[in-house]
Symmetry: C2
Subunit: 252 residues, 2 copies
């Protein structure tokens, strides 16, 4: 049978999602616990391969096993053996045709940064300590250039090789609470480092390094050299992975 | 000349304040940066030897050097070389007679825990995930037993050898914001693990394991076997170290 799980993790002390030899990864840590529990080698398939230092509140993965563990108890049992920076928040049985990565309809990421000039050691791994004020109206104007269906090849980390670089951004919103700004973006999918490169554009505009008109034309031409700033991983959160057929605009 | 510095750190990835060979400590990390900057072996003296996993927003330390670095620039220069989980927040020159540990008039600690049943991976290192509701009025009644001057030998981790175990607790207050409870305690000084053992008493009372009358009598008799619960380090913060001669009751 196929299990679908949703998990949350603090990415600070993980070298990303994807299993690698010798380093601590989310996939590696979860597979180790599941393999002991199911008494066989379990391989999990994540919806998103989050980078080193990136967090998730609702990463989704699936795995197969012939052994049936009561689904209502699975999270509790697994969580007892997981370290404090990762937890299963939901588990369910799904159809064997379900695939955590290929069946997604949209994903939502958030990026958090602080405008406070004083560096906050307690949140430096969870909120990018940007330390400068920004004008949210200006950033929203930049965001409007990204919304819709575009070829985002300019906003992909160099070295990536993906044939189809067209993605649809359904919605991008900024909000501010105390000195923390949150950028929330929902899209059909995201290229490698795309959200962090988007954030780099916002920061460049806030600092007067880039102009709105140039962003528009360089986005169309797909110029990677223009989109050359990648915001730190620590502010990024995978917030939601949806498998609904249609994206609904949600007020947040 | 003698330098007095105030520093903040996230204790999560440190094996406590005090320097030890082979492990990462706050003292070790700061001394390494200062020794390079002053081009000589700098030894720093902290006001409080916080344990592994314990945080500080205002730890104080002093050190001596013949070399004078402009005091207004010291924090900025040092911070550029420190990792993201520790920062100098203030630096000043002090009289050679000043001692960060022996001259303290009072210290303030805070302990944060969550009453929310759901485990928060993003704050599990910063807020103890207690996960159960508590009655703050009951806890305040327990706190009243601790306030004042007492022999706190019962609330000291076993193995400690200190002759004078009498301390004065000036004030203990509980507050709650969303699901996070903060216990704030100011005292003339604290024995090893004393705040965490105090928290253990609160949790035991909240769970009906200990009664008010018993706590009072066991506190007087100094029975360490009775005070046998130590709350996790992750919720504890060194908030303030004061060198004023008189403690003033501050509303917080």
């Amino acid at each position: 049978m196929r299990y679908k799980c949703t998990c949350a993790y603090d990415g600070r002390n993980f070298s990303g999602w994807q299993k690698q030899p010798t380093v601590r990864t989310v996939q590696g840590v979860i597979e180790e616990v599941l393999s002991k529990l199911f008494d066989s080698c379990i391989v999990i398939h994540g919806a998103s391969r989050t980078d080193s230092g990136v967090h998730a509140l609702a990463q989704v993965f699936h795995f197969d096993s012939d052994k049936e563990i009561p689904i209502g108890k699975l999270s509790m049992i697994v969580n007892r053996h997981l370290p404090d920076d990762v937890r299963i928040v939901n588990a369910e049985f799904v159809d064997d045709a379900f695939h955590s990565r290929f069946d997604t309809s949209f994903k939502t990421y958030e990026y958090k940064f602080s405008t406070d000039a004083s560096f906050d050691v307690m949140h430096s791994h969870a909120i990018y300590q940007y330390g400068k004020e920004v004008d949210l109206e200006t950033l929203s104007e930049v965001a409007n250039l990204f919304i819709g269906t575009h070829d985002f090849k300019g906003l992909m980390a160099s070295g990536s090789c993906i044939e189809n670089t067209v993605r649809t951004m359904f919605d991008i919103k900024f909000s501010k609470s105390a000195s923390t700004v949150t950028m929330r973006v929902s899209g059909s999918g995201f290229l490698y480092n795309m959200v962090r490169i988007m954030m780099g554009v916002y920061f460049d505009v806030a600092e007067g390094r880039k102009k709105l008109a140039d962003i528009d034309s360089e986005l169309i031409s797909g110029n990677r050299n223009f989109f050359n700033r990648t915001a730190p991983a620590c502010g990024l959160y995978l917030q939601e992975v949806s498998y609904e057929k249609f994206y609904k605009i949600i007020d947040f």
